[in-house]
Symmetry: C2
Subunit: 344 residues, 2 copies
């Protein structure tokens, strides 16, 4: 797009550049007529004032707020980066807005008029934020995590079906003592993946014992600590479902530390298929969701919402599928057998 | 900080909130006197207009542009995240500005008046950008990479000394056939690490053969491809210095794929000490630079520059030191010996 400069506005309005600047800053020293002529020229040229970054004709700031967790958690960059790149191609800039347990993002941070729209990656079940943004007319899309009944566009993976596929694999390999390392209960991703896992195992007559279910953040540290604890049990599980790949990578590292080799001694299944999952060091068997497609759909939804605020709400669900690599194995492997008889 | 609202401005100026809004948008329908009174109230209260995000009295936008490479490259989040968090605590928001080979960042993207300052992580030797920003009076700090003679604040690690320490380790372990997987020649980091490596080896009578020097981007892919090529040589090296940890992690994964175990069959040394370096899967011997301290120093320099544009320029160099983990070993190990006699 060709960007008009204050020189173009000055030429069209027949005034000096400094008069343009003063007029658009709302300063005095000119007639209302001159000011009007400058405003009209600026609007006709779709001039974005250097001062405000806001187009006078469209009121657009061309800035999108992206609410995400820690970027050092390898999951977030996999969504943030393609969304940022897509927004960049469409002429938007990305403002990173952190959402942390200790400093959760607030409506005031997002509704200050400086953003054309908001992408939320960290929505918690029951959070009033997405609805509050929608109520104020701020375009918003939830990506990866969703809320029940939020009046916003949503783009997620088929978490439940993916976890059912993981459950089917675990059961088909003959495992009857399965464990799960899950994420926060307030996230739709962990909730739906847990539901799919239990459903898929239940259909095959397998129940997960309550003591075999660990919960924490979606982090390497959660996976490492939970796997360490599971492997210290006398009745250690033979298969561990991890609610995402970052947890699974932490879990695999813990297993290596304990001298347990995923795939040979223990089955580990992740979720997401982040690039690290296919590194030779891990060769993680996982459930693939297409994160690039998820990012693209989210930006499509958001930009369509910005262009047409009253369009029908969309909920996009992308398919998931099992990727077999190196961390699954039969329960018949002697080294993976339970050390003591354990109930199922 | 207490944030004034348009209600506060309206009360102080003795007008309605809608008049405040219209006045600050430069719209007509009021006397110049009223407009002046509103402007003065807004300035007195340091009111940040919702429309512009720019304080009327300080002209500050409270937005910092951060020019970084791909966030999916695990190095960048390790600097971006602590800098973003530090800026957040100081009341600034972070705008992510991508810098890619195919779309290098331009002065126009940064000097549009919407940023209070700029952090550049991706400076290339000879780039005119930092100087151009400084010439326009835009506060700028270079972090991690620097330029020769740039008139900006700079914060880097002691790359040369760190690489000398790596060279000393490699030499002390008895390796005489060393290889290097380096980053782009236009980066000060790769240049200085290469210089330190050659210096440290040279002092011990070891030269790196030209055919043992590989170059590419600072990426997993570079490390993987280069190590694969090195291990396919009849005269494979017994020690490989990698110009950063991301390259080293790629190199270690390639070694595992080739059935070569770093630490037992081959010495691999990285640089940076990103968190992944200490994962049990890698246990990377590396040169540690304190990335959190680097981030803190960079933001200190930038915010001091914003507060005092004419203060003396600073170049901060943080120390580096060797972290011994699991990927180094003696050249005496039989499996790491050269298959054919090779010159040094």
């Amino acid at each position: 797009m060709v960007v008009a400069t204050s020189r173009d506005v000055a030429r069209m309005a027949g005034v000096s550049q400094s008069t343009v600047s003063r007029a658009l800053r709302g300063e005095g020293g000119m007639s209302e007529q001159t000011r009007d002529r400058i405003q009209q020229a600026a609007m006709a040229l779709n001039y974005v004032t250097l001062e405000t970054g806001r187009s006078l004709s469209t009121r657009a700031t061309h800035r999108i707020g992206m609410v995400a967790g820690e970027l050092t958690n390898p999951f977030y960059p996999e969504l943030v980066e393609p969304m940022r790149a897509d927004l960049h191609r469409r002429g938007f800039r990305t403002l990173l807005i952190p959402d942390r347990d200790e400093t959760p993002v607030s409506i005031d941070q997002l509704a200050d008029g400086s953003l054309d729209g908001v992408v939320i990656l960290t929505a918690l079940l029951g959070s009033p934020l997405p609805q509050a943004l929608a109520d104020r007319g701020i375009p918003v899309v939830l990506v990866n995590r969703e809320l029940d009944g939020a009046a916003t566009d949503v783009c997620v993976m088929d978490n439940r079906d993916g976890a059912r596929q993981a459950a089917a694999l675990i059961a088909d390999l003959g495992h009857t003592e399965a464990a799960a390392i899950l994420g926060p209960v307030q996230t739709s991703t962990s909730r739906d993946r847990e539901a799919g896992l239990r459903e898929g195992l239940g259909e095959r007559g397998i129940a997960i014992r309550a003591s075999m279910v660990c919960r924490g953040s979606f982090s390497y540290e959660t996976g490492f600590a939970a796997m360490t604890a599971l492997l210290n049990r006398a009745d250690r599980p033979t298969a561990v479902f991890c609610a995402n790949d970052v947890i699974a990578v932490g879990a695999c590292n813990a297993a290596m530390t304990a001298g347990v080799q995923p795939g040979r001694d223990l089955t580990v299944v992740g979720f997401d298929d982040i690039p690290m999952a296919c590194w030779p060091a891990f060769q993680l068997t996982t459930i693939r969701g297409d994160l690039t497609a998820l990012a693209e759909e989210a930006i499509r939804l958001l930009t369509q919402r910005i262009a047409d605020p009253v369009r029908a709400r969309e909920r996009v669900v992308l398919p998931t599928h099992l990727v077999l690599r190196g961390t699954h194995g039969s329960s018949a492997n002697p080294r993976s057998r339970r050390r003591t008889p354990g109930g199922s």
